[in-house]
């Protein structure tokens, strides 16, 4: 049924339709509305056979999810930013133990400086933790990915993060098509655990593993992610058969491959999450003959872990250059997504550009993207670009630090320089 609602609300309803049995909740913006929404449904009796547990921290949230999942329950939680970091140790345990927990990460920057706005630093900091990471482009896809995530996680006994842009998606009201309970039940079978803590049939979960087998156990985690690489596109097909729409998969292309009357793309922009929408609008404009008829296309990465090396290679097979636009920064080297993409295209002889954009909620605008892509098309872009960076502010601070030893706290001085009275993003 079509409805106009907040992204968080859509996800809460979708998770409820997946019949979770344990929800662990600890509030942190911007995911709070999701667990609040599920909490209301548990309290009202709309969501039955589900225990809603308020915990005292994110570390506890993930620990309770681990216990619940090991006990055979379908477990869900949500977090963001510092909350994800605070639960990091348990996050690794969930995947190491092979427990199919589904967690929404409402993507938000990581401090310091403290910042509640969106970027992808939180999820990407956990890229090697063994969880599958799926990134949603719209609220519809966020909703759909949760339904797919429970199925994939439980098949493979691997936990999954469904990543959606904090505020930009979680707090946006837009149209979604909410599935029926019957549709979700037809797609998602009841949870059949591979391992379960049962007093009647005791097993150990979480034994010490020494050098004799640790590498083999770790390799198994990699092998399962490689299985996920096969299953994710199949699940998207199965999903389409039941729900009638394209959602999920490893990657999405747009104007990239010479179909739909397009003449292919010489430049392909690669990104994850909601910024793909703004990029597509920009590409539509730039492809118009009156705007120069730029041969430009888009590759959206939905599955960041496992990383679809082959799909990226195929998508970039006929282009001349690629631009990875990412809401993350690997301090000291540049891009995170870009590094992964570069691995995929090794030996293909493509020009590649990394663009770090939108950190801490900095708006990514069509105007800035148009200038950026135009420059890329002429191969005039630097290998690493920080989109809309205010160099005056940066250079003032660097100068200050050169002049005096006790230059003071940097962030506060930079805020003073720009005369900020309140946060703004437009």
């Amino acid at each position: 049924m079509l409805k106009q609602c907040e992204g968080s609300h859509a996800v809460a309803e979708a998770v409820a339709l997946c019949r979770p049995e344990v929800i662990c909740a600890y509030p942190i913006s911007p995911q709070t509305h999701i667990v609040e929404g599920i909490g209301e449904m548990v309290k009202s009796g709309e969501l039955k056979n589900c225990e809603f547990i308020n915990v005292e921290s994110e570390f506890a949230a993930m620990s309770v999810a681990i216990g619940a999942s090991a006990g055979g329950a379908r477990a869900y939680t949500a977090t963001a930013s510092q909350g994800l970091l605070f639960m990091a140790e348990a996050v690794y345990n969930a995947s190491g133990l092979g427990l199919p927990i589904v967690m929404t990460v409402a993507n938000r920057a990581i401090g310091a400086p403290i910042n509640i706005w969106n970027d992808h630093s939180d999820s990407l900091s956990q890229r090697d933790c063994g969880w599958i990471q799926l990134f949603a482009e719209t609220n519809q896809e966020a909703l759909d990915l949760h339904i797919q995530a429970f199925k994939l996680a439980e098949e493979l006994s691997l936990p999954i993060m469904v990543c959606m842009d904090g505020f930009i998606l979680t707090h946006a009201y837009e149209r979604v098509d909410m599935p029926t309970q019957a549709q979700v039940d037809a797609f998602l079978p009841p949870y059949e655990p591979r391992q379960v803590l049962d007093p009647a049939d005791p097993v150990s979960i979480g034994a010490m593993v020494g050098p004799e087998a640790f590498m083999e156990v770790r390799y198994l985690a990699h092998a399962k992610q490689m299985q996920a690489l096969e299953r994710i596109p199949q699940l998207a097909e199965e999903f389409k058969a039941v729900f009638g729409r394209d959602s999920g998969g490893l990657t999405h292309t747009y104007c990239a491959d010479g179909v739909d009357g397009n003449d292919g793309a010489e430049t392909i922009v690669i990104a994850m999450g909601s910024v793909l929408g703004t990029i597509k609008d920009t590409v539509d404009e730039m492809r118009k003959p009156e705007n120069g008829g730029h041969k430009i296309g888009v590759l959206g990465i939905t599955s960041f872990r496992p990383f679809p090396l082959e799909a990226v290679r195929v998508a970039l097979a006929n282009c001349k250059r690629f631009v990875v636009l990412e809401k993350s920064l690997a301090v000291g080297i540049g891009g995170i997504v870009a590094t992964n993409v570069r691995m995929a295209v090794t030996g293909m002889g493509l020009k590649g550009y990394t663009v770090v954009a939108g950190l801490g909620g900095r708006a990514i605008t069509m105007k800035s993207l148009t200038g950026l892509f135009d420059k890329a098309g002429r191969d005039e872009l630097e290998p690493l670009t920080f989109l809309d960076l205010d160099w005056n502010v940066v250079n003032n601070q660097l100068e200050r630090e050169k002049l005096v030893r006790r230059s003071g706290p940097a962030a506060e001085a930079m805020l003073r320089d720009i005369g900020a009275v309140a946060a703004r993003n437009y």
């Binding site: 106009q4 930009i168 707090h171 946060a423």
Partner: protein, 198 residues
């Protein structure tokens, strides 16, 4: 695509107004996207929310920097925040006030504007009268339906019923309807040639 920016203060229902506007547009079968400016909003602090309305899927995620219309829930913001930043020339402006644009010091700014696109309504008074609380956001949506013509009053009423129930819904519907009628009358007067506002 029609883009609306709403300015107000924390506690005036700025974000709720944008959300309800999107629901009203959805009720008419259109695509709509509403979102807040995501500040750490506090009661009384300047707050901004956005709403886009279109006939196809809205993919754009940037903040609205060049609005077609502005709803200003609190006129004390006029000289504190650059509420008019990027407003399209001749765009719609609806202000919650019992003063004229001239009295607000905006006469020069809107000199060449089509006068029927410049409207004011005392939405706070209307909400106190009908709802018993100073929350101007919903009556302003009624006024916005009138001045912009982008959504029907009936859709605003549906959005109100979607959000509230009982007496609160009834009061807000009465306030929105009265605001709608006031703005319609203002527009008629402006079109009749009265340089009432400017």
């Amino acid at each position: 695509m029609f883009q609306v920016r709403i300015h107000g203060r924390g506690g005036q229902g700025v974000v709720t107004a944008a959300e309800m506007l999107s629901v009203a547009a959805f009720e008419e079968g259109r695509h709509a996207q509403a979102f807040p400016s995501f500040g750490s909003e506090r009661t009384g602090a300047p707050v901004v929310a956005f709403c886009r309305i279109a006939d196809k899927e809205i993919r754009l995620r940037e903040p609205i920097m060049e609005p077609d219309a502005l709803i200003i829930q609190d006129p004390t913001l006029l000289h504190q925040v650059d509420v008019f930043a990027g407003l399209k020339k001749g765009g719609y402006i609806l202000i919650n006030t019992n003063k004229t644009f001239e009295q607000l010091g905006l006469g020069e700014f809107v000199r060449d504007w089509p006068p029927e696109r410049l409207c004011t309504v005392s939405a706070t008074e209307l909400s106190i009268k009908h709802v018993g609380r100073p929350v101007p956001n919903v009556p302003l949506l009624g006024g916005f339906a009138a001045v912009s013509g982008v959504i029907q009053l009936a859709s605003v009423v549906t959005a109100i019923r979607d959000k509230f129930s009982g007496k609160v819904a009834d009061g807000n519907i009465a306030a929105a309807t009265e605001a709608y009628n006031i703005v319609r009358a203002e527009m008629a007067e402006a079109i009749m040639g009265g340089a009432h506002h400017a």
